[in-house]
Amino acid sequence: MLYVELLAQGLVQGSIYALVAVGLTLVYGLLRILHVAHAGLFTLGGYIGVLVTNATGSLLLALVVSMLVVGLLGMAIYRLCYQPILDKPPYVALIASIGLFIAMEEIYRIAFGPYGISYQNPPLQDVVYIFGITLRLGEVAVGVGTLVLIGALALFSTKTRFGTVWRATVTDPKMAESFGVDIIKVRYLNFFIGSALAAVAGVMVALLNNLVEPTMGSVPSYKALAIIVLGGLGDVRGTLIAALALGVIEAYGTIYLGNYLDRDAIAFAFLILVLMVRPQGLLGRA
């Protein structure tokens, strides 16, 4: 039973990685920018989730407000931070992004205090028994929520006209533009969706830990980068698989390798191993 429970734990963690990493890989696919400040948006999602839930008592409302606000802020970051420096070499945007991320952490600390904030009455804390394993309702919600959101995203991108345009632009921005696609609109959409997904991840992590701290984004800021490299930069499907795989590897690794390697070391050892065999990423074509 332990193995199954560890698998479930790994998939929950992997779902959170997936929600964060999808936004990052979308931005990379479209603009070739490593959007480190994305992890700052994830943290903001957590803060808004806790604040709105504590004020209104509704987690659902908190989720919607968080997605909207963080989505719009993601668009603003594109407009104000990245767009003016798009014609510069890629490291310029990377440096801007890292700077923005550090500034965001310190702004959260000043605005919300260094101690972090918690739900007054944390929702979804009940324990459920599925197939003989125990999970918290919050953990089930993370798994199901991720499945629904990613499913909806898949439907949107394959079944709607705008979705097709979006996919085409992410795959080959220049070609799409030459076909008359309004590339600016696609970029805004891209930032909105990616940031809103990170916000969901933030609300979920806040729920699982009952704690949102200014530095909550520091681990995702680099781990999500590892995941999108694993997934084959810009490849959404590969990113999802890489995120779930990493979650599961970490869950087993924490138990069986934890006294030699910490969680991050396990993640990066896995990254190195995969890249030695498949330098193009898990699903990428050589």
Partner: protein, 382 residues
């Protein structure tokens, strides 16, 4: 020399005299403390605690009539920052005494500089054994990690009578020195360590460890951590159906731990320095004065910052001079009651005091027991 020139020279001389005396108007205590970054919450409490001690002392006339000034800089709990800060405090601010309100890495690095410059330095709550080994100018007003680990072994094995124990260790100097002390004395109290897990300070999700601990079937869990790791850990252990006692240490010691873990925090025991139900006037007065100043309840870190500053101030008063050697000697001879207990030092500069055991009851920290076995709690002497 014309009259005007003479007047100007006279003015210049008086001016310099005035500014020199203005310079000596206050006597300075320096402090390195993390105010940004991951340790900012502890840093804030430590700073407020030290500020409170300085305000209280100034209200009583400072150091024999001279006002005390607390000069502090943000070290981000990083040795890279604490070293230049130590140099700045000594060289530029000319502080009489230094206090560390920071973690071990930063404190250890700064302690060497204070030692070599002959400026007394007091670590408020950093636990690494090497800190006081920097030399005879370095003191510590909190327990070295091993001592608290030994107290944890006594608490679990003897006072609670639990023998099958799982150890969950925070993988930094704090957690590892606690685990070392605990393991050194575990056998003496009949404890069988059935399994040990380590986690990183960045971890907040303990699902895999919880699943594994369930299959270990322990009688008790000795878990090191800070409130921001222990809060999620304890609530996840309880949600996973593990209801055996969890024993922590002073890193849990914050209202925030109870807020994060919620009802799961009930019954959690810790070894620490501050007794919330103390009848000692110094502790009672500190607890109420701190809440007024800070707007939130006192924690171990705040009490430690307050204690360290109080020890420094008492020594400066006793020495009565700005001779740092005399102040060092006065610190070494300290014997005073503070919010964290009766403070005196051994030859290495390690504090000798009792360990407080606190328990979470009805959403607040309360007195559970005191461990005063001085043989068990003997701090290292070299």
């Amino acid at each position: 020399m014309s009259i005007t020139k003479k007047v100007m020279v006279a003015l210049a001389i008086t001016g310099s005299l005035v500014s020199a005396s203005a310079f000596a108007d206050t006597v300075k205590i320096g402090m390195n403390v993390p105010l940004t970054g991951f340790a900012a919450a502890d840093g804030k409490s430590a700073l407020l605690g030290a500020e409170l001690a300085v305000e209280q002392a100034n209200a009583e006339g400072g150091i024999n009539g001279t006002e005390i000034e607390l000069v502090h800089y943000d070290d981000q709990a990083s040795p890279k920052q604490s070293v230049p800060i130590a140099n700045k405090l000594i060289g530029q601010d000319e502080v009489m005494v230094g206090i560390s309100g920071s973690y071990s890495g930063a404190t250890r690095a700064a302690s060497g500089i204070f030692q070599s410059e002959g400026v007394p330095y007091i670590s408020a709550f950093a636990v690494h054994p090497d800190i006081t080994k920097s030399g005879d100018y370095v003191f510590r007003t909190s327990f070295v990690g091993e001592v608290q680990g030994r107290a944890g072994a006594k608490l679990i094995g003897e006072m609670l009578g639990k023998k099958r124990v799982v150890v969950i260790t925070l993988k930094n100097d704090f957690g590892q020195s606690l685990a070392a002390g605990f393991k050194a004395k575990a056998a003496d109290f009949g404890i069988n360590i059935v399994n040990e897990y380590e986690y990183s300070i960045k971890d907040r999700q303990f699902g895999p460890i919880v699943s594994k601990v369930k299959s270990d079937k322990p009688d008790a869990i000795y878990a090191s951590g800070y409130f921001f790791t222990a809060g999620p850990l304890v609530s996840q252990l309880r949600a996973g159906g593990i209801d055996v006692p969890v024993i922590g240490q002073e890193g849990y010691d914050s209202e925030k731990f109870i807020e994060i873990a919620g009802p799961s925090s009930d019954g959690v025991l810790i070894t620490t320095s501050l007794d919330r139900d103390s009848t000692v006037p110094e502790a009672k007065e500190f607890i109420s004065a701190f809440e007024v100043k800070a707007g939130y309840k006192a924690d171990m870190v705040a009490a430690s910052g307050h204690t360290a500053a109080k020890v420094a101030i008492a020594a400066m008063r006793k020495a009565g001079t700005t001779d740092r050697q005399a102040i060092r000697d006065a610190i070494a001879a300290t014997n005073m009651v503070a919010s964290t207990g009766t403070i005196s030092f051994n030859g290495l500069g390690e504090v000798k005091k009792d360990v407080q055991v606190q328990v979470v009851k009805d959403g607040a920290w309360h007195h559970y027991a005191v461990i005063d076995d001085q043989k068990l709690l003997t701090p290292p002497v070299e």
